[in-house]
């Protein structure tokens, strides 16, 4: 279980997140909703260690954990970025296997095998030798998911997973997210798409801008 206690984040003296506390039970899906500028992306960036927080703390199974300073090789938080941020100079296969190879020091055969299994369930089979520019938006997103999963994170976060996609693909994304939940993945989904949020959420967190 991920517990967040009294999280406070400011930018240049302006408070963006003010003493926010919530928790995410294992294998559940938390959706974070709220208007533009409410600090949803900022919150995800704090959780994933991309922003230093001003106060408060993160606890995983009651163990304090600092995503910003975390220097171990273990991946605790995986992130699917709003604009995916696939590495354009690497093939789909290399995008997914780069970190397991370099960081987890797994052998090539194992990571490739894992990646191919992941591609099969994300309907990416046959795409492994393509480069990101050769993929559709939905395919890029699924590669981004595969890349995050390859590090076996305890929690997977998504920033606006439906915003870059055609509306018809929303159903696909929610199917993937629910499928990962069946496998026991804990997930945090930021969105301002209420229908989508209601569809996937076990728990919902509303955030609003601080005056």
């Amino acid at each position: 279980m991920l517990k967040i206690k009294d999280l406070t984040k400011t930018f240049g003296g302006r408070v963006i997140i003010d003493k926010l506390s919530f928790d995410v039970p294992d294998s559940e899906i938390l959706t974070i909703v709220g208007p533009s500028g409410a600090g949803k992306t900022t919150l995800l960036r704090c959780i994933s260690g991309l922003e230093k927080i001003d106060a408060g703390g993160f606890y995983i199974n009651d163990q304090k954990f600092d995503p910003y300073e975390n220097s171990g090789n273990e991946s605790v938080i995986g992130v699917v970025f709003q604009d995916f941020q696939l590495f354009p100079n690497l093939t789909v296969m290399d995008n997914v296997t780069l970190a397991p190879k370099l960081v987890l020091k797994k052998d090539v055969a194992t990571v490739k095998k894992e990646a191919l299994e992941s591609f099969a369930r994300l309907q990416l089979d046959g795409k492994e030798d393509l480069y990101p520019y050769q993929l559709s938006g939905g395919q890029k997103q699924r590669v981004a998911i595969a890349r995050a999963l390859a590090m076996h994170p305890q929690i997977l976060c998504y920033d606006e997973p439906t915003s870059a996609l055609d509306p018809e693909l929303r159903g696909e994304v929610s199917k993937i997210i629910k499928g990962l939940k069946q496998d026991g993945m804990t997930q945090i989904v930021v969105t301002h798409d209420m229908d989508f949020a209601n569809d996937v959420a076990d728990k919902q967190l509303h955030v609003s801008p601080i005056k």
Binding site: F87, N89, V103
Partner: protein, 216 residues
């Protein structure tokens, strides 16, 4: 005088001049490219003093003529007791000068890599150097290649500036023959050889650019 016989007579000296030109060209690239790359990383580093020092260096090297730098190193520095051989002076000035241009090009390339790429690498727990090696350098290489190519072509021609410190390069060989024999032929040949050299460089650079064309 525009005879095959005359040409074959002066060709050996022109070719030995070409060898000197190529030596300066190659050593300058071998020295200036890695230094420029490291200085480029320094120009975007978070550490302010490094940025200030490197910006000053780039400003100095790009803001003054290469010719002045050559003269300064070879004729100027001995006045304060620092003596270089001609050839060493030429390489020293050329490498320092070209490293500044390359550093500025690499700085631009590094800055055009999306911040999100570093963040994606960070959440995947790649180290700084792993990120630089596997993600940043390949992307920067592709971005900077055309500008580096321009400088490489410039270098072929700039190398003729070593003339001023008395190095026997291609231009000097041509000029010596031309004034000795009172004919334009050596100078025309020199022009043709420079054209050939730049054409070869252009061809090689195109091939390298093509090599990087497998992704966008």
């Amino acid at each position: 005088m525009f005879s095959l016989h005359y040409i074959s007579e002066i060709l050996p000296s022109l070719l030995s001049g070409t060898t000197m030109t190529l030596k300066i060209f190659c050593w300058t690239l071998i020295g200036a490219l890695p230094i420029g790359m490291i200085f480029g990383l320094g120009l975007v580093s978070k550490f302010r003093p490094i940025r200030y020092i490197l910006n000053f260096y780039v400003w100095l090297m790009r803001g003054t003529p290469l010719l002045l730098q050559l003269i300064f190193v070879f004729y100027g520095l001995p006045i304060v007791g620092i003596v270089f051989q001609r050839y060493d002076a030429a390489l020293f000035a050329f490498i320092l000068n070209y490293a500044a241009y390359f550093a500025e090009i690499f700085r631009g390339g590094l800055q055009s890599v999306d911040r999100g790429q570093y963040e994606a690498a960070k959440v995947l727990r790649l180290s700084y150097w792993q990120t630089i090696r596997k993600i940043v350098i390949p992307q920067v290489a592709k971005i900077v290649l055309p500008s580096i190519g321009n400088e490489v072509i410039n270098l072929v021609k700039d190398s003729s500036l070593v003339y001023v410190i008395g190095i026997g390069d291609l231009l000097r060989a041509g000029n010596v023959a031309s004034s000795r024999d009172v004919t334009l032929v050596p100078l025309l040949l020199v022009g043709i050889i420079y054209l050939l050299l730049t054409a070869i460089c252009t061809y090689i650079l195109r091939r390298i650019e093509k090599h990087f064309a497998y992704w966008r």
